[in-house]
Protein backbone atom coordinates (compact mmCIF):
# COMPACT_ATOMS: atom_id res chain seq x y z
CA UNK A 1 0.00 0.00 0.00
CA UNK A 2 2.78 2.37 0.97
CA UNK A 3 4.63 1.66 -2.25
CA UNK A 4 1.53 2.32 -4.34
CA UNK A 5 1.03 5.63 -2.52
CA UNK A 6 4.67 6.62 -3.03
CA UNK A 7 4.50 5.70 -6.71
CA UNK A 8 1.28 7.69 -7.21
CA UNK A 9 2.83 10.68 -5.42
CA UNK A 10 5.96 10.49 -7.59
CA UNK A 11 3.90 10.27 -10.79
CA UNK A 12 1.71 13.19 -9.69
CA UNK A 13 4.77 15.29 -8.86
CA UNK A 14 6.31 14.44 -12.22
CA UNK A 15 3.13 15.46 -14.08
CA UNK A 16 2.91 18.75 -12.15
CA UNK A 17 6.56 19.60 -12.85
CA UNK A 18 6.27 18.58 -16.50
CA UNK A 19 3.21 20.81 -16.94
CA UNK A 20 4.95 23.70 -15.21
CA UNK A 21 8.14 23.35 -17.27
CA UNK A 22 6.22 22.98 -20.52
CA UNK A 23 4.96 26.55 -20.08
CA UNK A 24 8.41 28.14 -19.63
CA UNK A 25 9.88 29.49 -22.87
CA UNK A 26 13.50 28.33 -22.74
CA UNK A 27 15.14 30.71 -25.14
CA UNK A 28 12.36 30.56 -27.70
CA UNK A 29 11.33 33.64 -29.55
CA UNK A 30 8.28 35.13 -27.96
CA UNK A 31 6.72 37.34 -30.56
CA UNK A 32 7.87 39.66 -33.32
CA UNK A 33 11.30 40.58 -31.99
CA UNK A 34 13.49 42.94 -33.99
CA UNK A 35 15.81 41.88 -36.72
CA UNK A 36 19.29 40.99 -35.40
CA UNK A 37 21.10 43.20 -37.90
CA UNK A 38 19.05 46.35 -37.44
CA UNK A 39 17.50 46.35 -34.00
CA UNK A 40 14.52 48.59 -33.51
CA UNK A 41 14.66 50.70 -30.38
CA UNK A 42 12.12 50.40 -27.56
CA UNK A 43 11.13 46.86 -28.47
CA UNK A 44 13.10 45.07 -25.77
CA UNK A 45 9.99 43.79 -24.02
CA UNK A 46 9.12 41.58 -26.98
CA UNK A 47 12.60 40.14 -27.24
CA UNK A 48 13.67 36.77 -25.92
CA UNK A 49 16.60 36.84 -23.49
CA UNK A 50 19.32 35.37 -25.79
CA UNK A 51 18.25 37.69 -28.56
CA UNK A 52 18.53 40.62 -26.17
CA UNK A 53 22.07 39.61 -25.22
CA UNK A 54 23.10 39.21 -28.85
CA UNK A 55 21.56 42.50 -29.93
CA UNK A 56 22.44 44.84 -27.08
CA UNK A 57 25.27 42.98 -25.33
CA UNK A 58 28.12 44.73 -27.09
CA UNK A 59 26.71 48.16 -26.30
CA UNK A 60 25.77 47.26 -22.73
CA UNK A 61 29.08 45.71 -21.68
CA UNK A 62 31.71 46.53 -24.34
CA UNK A 63 32.86 42.89 -24.42
CA UNK A 64 33.26 41.15 -27.77
CA UNK A 65 32.94 37.63 -26.36
CA UNK A 66 29.25 37.34 -25.47
CA UNK A 67 29.79 34.40 -23.08
CA UNK A 68 32.10 36.58 -21.00
CA UNK A 69 29.59 39.43 -21.14
CA UNK A 70 26.96 37.13 -19.62
CA UNK A 71 29.27 35.44 -17.08
CA UNK A 72 31.04 38.53 -15.73
CA UNK A 73 28.68 41.40 -16.43
CA UNK A 74 25.02 40.35 -16.60
CA UNK A 75 25.45 37.44 -14.17
CA UNK A 76 28.51 38.71 -12.26
CA UNK A 77 27.02 38.05 -8.83
CA UNK A 78 26.47 34.36 -9.70
CA UNK A 79 30.13 34.14 -10.70
CA UNK A 80 31.11 35.46 -7.25
CA UNK A 81 29.10 32.59 -5.76
CA UNK A 82 30.78 30.10 -8.11
CA UNK A 83 34.25 31.30 -7.08
CA UNK A 84 33.20 30.96 -3.43
CA UNK A 85 32.12 27.34 -4.04
CA UNK A 86 35.52 26.56 -5.57
CA UNK A 87 37.25 28.26 -2.61
CA UNK A 88 35.26 26.10 -0.16
CA UNK A 89 36.12 22.93 -2.11
CA UNK A 90 39.83 23.81 -2.09
CA UNK A 91 39.72 24.62 1.64
CA UNK A 92 38.03 21.29 2.36
CA UNK A 93 40.58 19.27 0.39
CA UNK A 94 43.43 21.18 2.04
CA UNK A 95 42.12 20.68 5.57
CA UNK A 96 41.60 16.93 4.99
CA UNK A 97 44.71 16.07 3.04
CA UNK A 98 47.44 18.62 3.83
CA UNK A 99 50.64 17.07 5.17
CA UNK A 100 52.74 19.51 7.14
CA UNK A 101 56.04 17.67 6.90
CA UNK A 102 57.13 17.56 3.28
CA UNK A 103 60.14 15.37 4.06
CA UNK A 104 57.82 12.44 4.73
CA UNK A 105 56.88 12.32 1.08
CA UNK A 106 58.18 9.32 -0.78
CA UNK A 107 60.81 10.75 -3.12
CA UNK A 108 61.03 8.97 -6.44
CA UNK A 109 63.43 9.85 -9.25
CA UNK A 110 61.63 10.83 -12.43
CA UNK A 111 62.77 10.39 -15.98
CA UNK A 112 65.39 12.72 -17.49
CA UNK A 113 63.14 13.22 -20.53
CA UNK A 114 60.23 14.30 -18.31
CA UNK A 115 62.49 16.66 -16.32
CA UNK A 116 63.91 18.41 -19.39
CA UNK A 117 60.58 18.54 -21.20
CA UNK A 118 58.73 20.02 -18.26
CA UNK A 119 61.51 22.58 -17.76
CA UNK A 120 61.02 23.71 -21.36
CA UNK A 121 57.21 23.58 -21.38
CA UNK A 122 56.42 25.13 -17.99
CA UNK A 123 56.83 28.76 -19.07
CA UNK A 124 54.85 28.30 -22.26
CA UNK A 125 51.93 26.67 -20.47
CA UNK A 126 51.86 29.50 -17.88
CA UNK A 127 51.95 32.01 -20.74
CA UNK A 128 49.06 30.25 -22.49
CA UNK A 129 46.97 30.26 -19.31
CA UNK A 130 47.66 33.97 -18.75
CA UNK A 131 46.76 34.66 -22.40
CA UNK A 132 43.44 32.84 -21.98
CA UNK A 133 42.33 34.88 -18.99
CA UNK A 134 43.74 38.25 -20.07
CA UNK A 135 41.93 37.99 -23.42
CA UNK A 136 38.78 36.62 -21.83
CA UNK A 137 36.60 39.47 -23.09
CA UNK A 138 37.87 39.10 -26.69
CA UNK A 139 38.42 35.42 -27.43
CA UNK A 140 36.84 32.21 -26.11
CA UNK A 141 38.05 31.27 -22.65
CA UNK A 142 38.27 33.25 -19.46
CA UNK A 143 39.21 33.03 -15.83
CA UNK A 144 38.20 29.45 -15.12
CA UNK A 145 39.93 27.75 -18.09
CA UNK A 146 43.00 29.97 -17.69
CA UNK A 147 43.31 29.12 -14.01
CA UNK A 148 42.95 25.42 -14.79
CA UNK A 149 45.70 25.61 -17.44
CA UNK A 150 48.03 27.33 -14.96
CA UNK A 151 47.30 24.66 -12.34
CA UNK A 152 48.06 21.94 -14.91
CA UNK A 153 51.48 23.51 -15.55
CA UNK A 154 52.21 23.28 -11.81
CA UNK A 155 51.01 19.67 -11.95
CA UNK A 156 53.66 19.04 -14.61
CA UNK A 157 56.33 20.40 -12.24
CA UNK A 158 55.03 18.19 -9.43
CA UNK A 159 55.29 15.14 -11.69
CA UNK A 160 58.77 15.96 -12.96
CA UNK A 161 60.40 17.06 -9.70
CA UNK A 162 59.25 14.97 -6.73
CA UNK A 163 60.81 17.38 -4.23
CA UNK A 164 59.06 20.44 -5.67
CA UNK A 165 56.26 22.00 -3.71
CA UNK A 166 54.52 25.33 -4.08
CA UNK A 167 54.68 27.54 -1.04
CA UNK A 168 51.34 27.59 0.69
CA UNK A 169 51.76 31.10 2.06
CA UNK A 170 52.31 32.56 -1.40
CA UNK A 171 49.33 30.63 -2.77
CA UNK A 172 47.18 31.91 0.11
CA UNK A 173 48.31 35.51 -0.46
CA UNK A 174 47.66 35.48 -4.22
CA UNK A 175 44.29 33.80 -3.79
CA UNK A 176 43.14 36.21 -1.08
CA UNK A 177 44.32 39.25 -3.06
CA UNK A 178 42.43 38.04 -6.14
CA UNK A 179 39.24 37.44 -4.17
CA UNK A 180 39.57 40.85 -2.52
CA UNK A 181 40.00 42.49 -5.96
CA UNK A 182 36.74 40.93 -7.20
CA UNK A 183 34.77 42.09 -4.14
CA UNK A 184 36.38 45.56 -4.06
CA UNK A 185 35.58 46.15 -7.76
CA UNK A 186 32.00 45.15 -7.04
CA UNK A 187 31.79 47.45 -4.02
CA UNK A 188 33.29 50.35 -6.01
CA UNK A 189 30.45 49.88 -8.49
CA UNK A 190 28.03 49.96 -5.57
CA UNK A 191 29.54 53.24 -4.33
CA UNK A 192 29.77 54.93 -7.74
CA UNK A 193 26.54 53.90 -9.46
CA UNK A 194 24.39 52.29 -6.82
CA UNK A 195 24.49 48.62 -7.71
CA UNK A 196 26.95 45.80 -7.14
CA UNK A 197 29.48 45.05 -9.95
CA UNK A 198 28.55 48.12 -11.99
CA UNK A 199 30.84 48.53 -14.99
CA UNK A 200 32.26 51.94 -14.04
CA UNK A 201 35.43 52.06 -16.16
CA UNK A 202 35.27 53.42 -19.74
CA UNK A 203 34.40 50.79 -22.35
CA UNK A 204 36.98 51.83 -24.94
CA UNK A 205 36.94 50.48 -28.48
CA UNK A 206 35.56 46.97 -28.97
CA UNK A 207 38.04 44.20 -29.94
CA UNK A 208 40.92 46.09 -28.24
CA UNK A 209 42.74 44.69 -25.23
CA UNK A 210 41.91 47.65 -22.99
CA UNK A 211 38.17 47.63 -23.47
CA UNK A 212 35.02 46.42 -21.73
CA UNK A 213 35.64 48.35 -18.48
CA UNK A 214 35.99 46.19 -15.38
CA UNK A 215 35.52 42.83 -17.15
CA UNK A 216 39.27 42.19 -17.78
CA UNK A 217 40.12 43.21 -14.20
CA UNK A 218 37.60 40.75 -12.78
CA UNK A 219 38.64 37.97 -15.14
CA UNK A 220 42.35 38.35 -14.28
CA UNK A 221 41.38 38.18 -10.61
CA UNK A 222 39.29 35.03 -11.24
CA UNK A 223 42.13 33.46 -13.22
CA UNK A 224 44.70 34.02 -10.45
CA UNK A 225 42.25 32.80 -7.83
CA UNK A 226 41.25 29.63 -9.68
CA UNK A 227 44.88 28.89 -10.57
CA UNK A 228 46.11 29.15 -6.99
CA UNK A 229 43.14 27.17 -5.63
CA UNK A 230 43.61 24.27 -8.06
CA UNK A 231 47.38 24.29 -7.45
CA UNK A 232 46.62 24.08 -3.74
CA UNK A 233 44.36 21.09 -4.35
CA UNK A 234 47.08 19.32 -6.39
CA UNK A 235 49.65 20.11 -3.68
CA UNK A 236 47.40 18.74 -0.95
CA UNK A 237 46.70 15.57 -2.93
CA UNK A 238 50.43 15.02 -3.55
CA UNK A 239 51.05 15.24 0.20
CA UNK A 240 49.07 12.05 0.82
CA UNK A 241 51.59 9.83 -0.92
CA UNK A 242 53.77 8.42 1.83
Amino acid sequence: MKRVLALTLAILLFIVFAMAFAKIPFGEKMSNYPDYYNPIENQTSNMSLPQHYLTYGKNDTGATNMVTAVVVDYRGFDTLGEVTVLFLASTGVGSLMYVEDKVKRKVRRSNAVVETGSKLLFGFIILFGAYIFIHGHLTPGGGFPGGAVIASSFLLLYLAYPKFHAEHKKLNVSESLAGLTFVIVGLLGLIIAGYFLYNFLPFGLPTYLFSAGVIPVIYVAIGVKVGSELTGIVDAMMGVRE
Binding site: P140, F144, P145, A148, V149, A151, S152, L155, V240
Partner: protein, 82 residues
Protein backbone atom coordinates in the same frame (compact mmCIF):
# COMPACT_ATOMS: atom_id res chain seq x y z
CA UNK B 1 26.62 11.83 -44.84
CA UNK B 2 28.96 14.78 -44.67
CA UNK B 3 32.36 14.83 -43.02
CA UNK B 4 31.08 16.44 -39.82
CA UNK B 5 28.60 13.62 -39.19
CA UNK B 6 31.15 10.89 -39.90
CA UNK B 7 33.81 12.43 -37.62
CA UNK B 8 31.33 13.04 -34.81
CA UNK B 9 29.99 9.47 -35.08
CA UNK B 10 33.54 8.09 -34.80
CA UNK B 11 34.27 10.35 -31.80
CA UNK B 12 31.00 9.40 -30.08
CA UNK B 13 31.82 5.71 -30.57
CA UNK B 14 35.29 6.16 -29.02
CA UNK B 15 33.71 8.12 -26.16
CA UNK B 16 31.14 5.40 -25.39
CA UNK B 17 33.79 2.65 -25.54
CA UNK B 18 36.08 4.63 -23.19
CA UNK B 19 33.20 5.23 -20.77
CA UNK B 20 32.29 1.52 -20.69
CA UNK B 21 35.96 0.59 -20.12
CA UNK B 22 36.21 3.15 -17.30
CA UNK B 23 33.16 1.70 -15.57
CA UNK B 24 33.86 -2.01 -16.06
CA UNK B 25 37.62 -2.64 -15.88
CA UNK B 26 39.10 -4.00 -12.63
CA UNK B 27 42.41 -2.15 -12.97
CA UNK B 28 41.66 1.26 -11.47
CA UNK B 29 44.68 2.96 -13.06
CA UNK B 30 43.45 1.96 -16.52
CA UNK B 31 39.96 3.11 -15.54
CA UNK B 32 41.31 6.57 -14.63
CA UNK B 33 43.17 6.81 -17.93
CA UNK B 34 40.05 5.68 -19.84
CA UNK B 35 38.00 8.42 -18.17
CA UNK B 36 40.72 10.90 -19.17
CA UNK B 37 40.45 9.70 -22.79
CA UNK B 38 36.68 10.18 -22.58
CA UNK B 39 37.11 13.78 -21.37
CA UNK B 40 39.55 14.50 -24.19
CA UNK B 41 37.10 13.18 -26.83
CA UNK B 42 34.26 15.13 -25.23
CA UNK B 43 36.37 18.29 -25.42
CA UNK B 44 36.97 17.71 -29.16
CA UNK B 45 33.20 17.27 -29.58
CA UNK B 46 32.58 20.53 -27.68
CA UNK B 47 34.98 22.28 -30.03
CA UNK B 48 33.17 20.84 -33.06
CA UNK B 49 29.84 22.00 -31.64
CA UNK B 50 31.22 25.58 -31.51
CA UNK B 51 31.77 25.86 -27.75
CA UNK B 52 35.55 26.48 -27.63
CA UNK B 53 35.61 27.87 -24.09
CA UNK B 54 33.88 24.78 -22.71
CA UNK B 55 36.35 22.68 -24.73
CA UNK B 56 39.36 24.39 -23.12
CA UNK B 57 37.90 23.93 -19.64
CA UNK B 58 37.05 20.27 -20.28
CA UNK B 59 40.51 19.52 -21.65
CA UNK B 60 42.32 21.22 -18.74
CA UNK B 61 40.14 19.95 -15.90
CA UNK B 62 38.74 16.65 -17.20
CA UNK B 63 41.77 15.31 -19.01
CA UNK B 64 44.62 16.74 -16.90
CA UNK B 65 43.68 17.72 -13.37
CA UNK B 66 40.91 15.30 -12.41
CA UNK B 67 42.81 12.35 -13.90
CA UNK B 68 45.91 13.34 -11.92
CA UNK B 69 43.90 13.66 -8.71
CA UNK B 70 42.36 10.22 -9.33
CA UNK B 71 45.79 8.71 -9.93
CA UNK B 72 47.10 10.26 -6.67
CA UNK B 73 44.10 8.68 -4.93
CA UNK B 74 44.88 5.28 -6.44
CA UNK B 75 48.54 5.63 -5.38
CA UNK B 76 47.55 6.07 -1.75
CA UNK B 77 45.02 3.18 -1.80
CA UNK B 78 44.97 0.03 -3.93
CA UNK B 79 45.29 -0.40 -7.66
CA UNK B 80 43.07 -3.45 -8.20
CA UNK B 81 39.35 -3.48 -7.60
CA UNK B 82 38.14 -6.52 -5.66
Amino acid sequence: MDLFTIVSLILITIMIIAAIIAAEIKDLLSAAIASGVMSLVVSILFYMLQAPDVAITEAAIGAALSMAVMIFGIKSTKRWEK
